[in-house]
Symmetry: C2
Subunit: 411 residues, 2 copies
């Protein structure tokens, strides 16, 4: 089928011809379709049967340009193949945390998948004052399984090579390279600054050679270190939650990169929300409750990830030669694992710093801070976030644990 962008009106007819949809819809005559894509890249349609809303799916279609900009910014439709492959790959590892893919159409750059009816985007839920006790356990499980099973610690070299090729994602990586690692630091015209943010706070980021060198190292790591299959955009807008369940969505930025990138993006978004909460209702009981939850959850995400990743690794190597070869003294395998986790931790902190800077100075903001109405209150959150980012970038090698980092946040 030749690619064409589907309208709401065309969706029922399209679905009717998809064999897998026969099992999901009793008929296609009375479907409600609404386009709800609020992202920058794609069109997203919620489809449900008017008489039986349990009959429902999501249709997501990529167009050959960046939606938020228009046809003047061409972007490969192939990204939908990568997103679909990543959804299936991650779901095979963690079925409880990924939506099911019912149908994928490469020609049409389209995927039909499970609709998470009882779930909402985590960022919005947090802004509304909700917190979720299981999110840390769920997201750390997702990260441990996804980051371990894509890596050389688990795959054979040939399987790893094939995976790296399948998930080569140059165009979307370029967006990250520009928008996360470059533009926020070089005063790019794509940046936007809160007028109330003091120039000095911006200069501390953009005109500090040591900080710029640290960001350069992390950009280079992002571009060269093909460690594992990343989600690639694991912020709290890519997470859907209910009271008991947590789902990860939108892995169109998936590619082989450094483990710390996914972890760092996630941690940064909890920290950004912490500063945003502080600026909304400083000292209020609700804000304090959410802020406490945010820091606790950030710490549990790392700690839970580290613990489960280590368990998966030890179990995989149990009884045989491990990554370093046979462990002759009984302490070497663990010494390497400890060194490995230290490196991932420090990388995560560095990438968290990059994410925090770009959400304050760069093109794409986060509602947690950007929606704070008073520019002065917003600038106070932004200044705090930039100070933490500075510390994450420059002192990441000195942090021994998440408790150290939480001290930095509260400072």
């Amino acid at each position: 089928m030749e690619f064409r962008r589907l309208t709401e009106a065309e969706i029922p007819g399209y679905l009717q011809d998809v064999p897998a949809m026969q099992a999901r819809f009793s008929d296609f005559d009375d479907l409600d379709v609404s386009e709800v894509g609020d992202g920058n890249l794609n069109f997203v349609f919620l489809v449900s049967h008017r008489r039986d809303p349990q009959q429902t799916v999501v249709v997501k279609q990529a167009v050959p340009y960046l939606r938020v900009v228009g046809q003047s910014w061409p972007l490969t439709r192939h990204r939908m193949d990568i997103e679909t492959a990543a959804l299936r790959h991650f779901r095979a590892l963690c079925p409880q945390h990924l939506p099911e893919v019912f149908h994928a159409d490469s020609d049409m750059s389209l995927v039909v998948m499970e609709r998470l009816r009882d779930h909402r985007i985590l960022r919005g839920a947090l802004l509304d004052g909700h917190t979720f006790d299981s999110v840390a356990a769920h997201l750390s499980t997702f990260m441990a399984h996804s980051l371990f099973h894509g890596s050389d610690l688990y795959l054979t070299p040939a399987a790893k090579r094939d995976a790296v090729k399948r998930f080569t994602n140059v165009e979307l990586c370029k967006i990250t390279e520009d928008l996360i690692f470059t533009h926020p630091y070089d005063d790019s015209p794509t940046n936007s600054y809160n007028p109330a943010l003091p120039r000095d706070a911006i200069d501390r980021i953009q005109r500090n050679p040591l900080l710029r060198a640290a960001v350069g190292e992390l950009k280079y790591a992002f571009m060269t270190r093909a460690e594992t299959l990343l989600h690639g955009d694991l912020h709290v807008g890519s997470v859907m939650v209910s009271e008991k369940e947590t789902y990860v969505i939108d892995p169109e930025f998936a590619f082989y990169g450094p483990m710390g990138f996914d972890i760092g993006i996630l941690l940064a978004n909890f920290f950004l929300a912490w500063y945003g909460q502080g600026a909304r209702a400083p000292g209020g009981a609700d804000a304090t409750h959410t802020q406490d939850w945010l820091l606790r959850t950030a710490a549990q995400c790392w700690d839970g990830f580290a613990q489960q990743f280590m368990q998966l690794w030890q179990a995989h190597e149990h009884g045989g030669a491990g990554f370093i070869g046979r462990d002759l003294d009984g302490a070497s395998a663990q010494a390497y694992r400890d060194a490995f986790m230290r490196q991932v931790f420090q990388d995560s902190l560095g990438f968290a710093g990059c994410e925090m800077v770009r959400r304050v100075l760069g093109l794409a903001k986060v509602a947690d801070i950007a929606d704070v109405a008073d520019p002065v209150a917003r600038a106070s959150a932004e200044t705090g976030a930039l100070r933490l980012a500075e510390r994450l970038l420059l002192q990441r090698h000195q942090a021994g644990s998440m408790q150290d980092v939480l001290t930095w946040v509260r400072a």
Copy 2:
């Protein structure tokens, strides 16, 4: 053409049918062909006209197994495509340091190239007491150009992706992973130890958790960090020299890996030769002359590489935004370059340590030490080499310059 292994007698007939050979040979009736491959992988034929020895080429053919082991160790013939592509790529960058490729035949896994008649393998020349004033300048030029131009500092992301794919070399990388990074450390049956080498010297390598962890980090870096197109086996047996010229050959291990790997392998081979020279004629004037040259050359290789690499980088970014973006304070681009070079230096020292260990404990030795007839004298060289390797692996982050490292060698 279907693959078949050529014999000496078949070479003239094969060459006669190659158009490019018409310009190199007046006729094909009186060619002298001798198979001289002393490597572990391939067959190498020297071909020259008996009446006019200036008419001469080298034919190199890969067979679908590891030559040194036989058909029981299958190995992709595709490696010759990679070797040929690497030879051409490196020659385009440094025509003065790579032999010319006259003809490549993918079906036959064969390459016909320039014969370096007046040159000999550097390792053998050093063992015969020769030294060469230009080798450091030449090899540092080769490394600076090859390592820079394959990297993200020079290539666009799309060009880099294509290069990574073209030079994916899983099978030969696996040999390195096993023989350099794993077997020497886990007392593998493929190892061989000088009976006069004290068990304690071996245990200091194989049963030191911190050292094993350091080697694990370097193995992981080798497997995951796709920084640039490496030669992949840049020891002094892959270098041919005359009084005035230096050529790099045999890049069949070429792949996208960490820059420090090529540099470290080369440095290690100078250090190994230094210990070998010391064991052959300790204190003798000739040995001392060669030893001084070895350390001077090692230092000049790094220093020359670092200087030229930096020049290439600065020239490439002159007048525009560099890798980190625009340099707003005039000091950030250089701060990043300095941090980058420190990382490459420390990586190089670590990889040098790995190469030294594997040449003493592993399967593939170096003649510099292995040919020392007296086992006790040999063990003394080996012990020294292992001690230096230990330091390179454990203290690489503390070395500020090559002068520090030379102090370690002499210690």
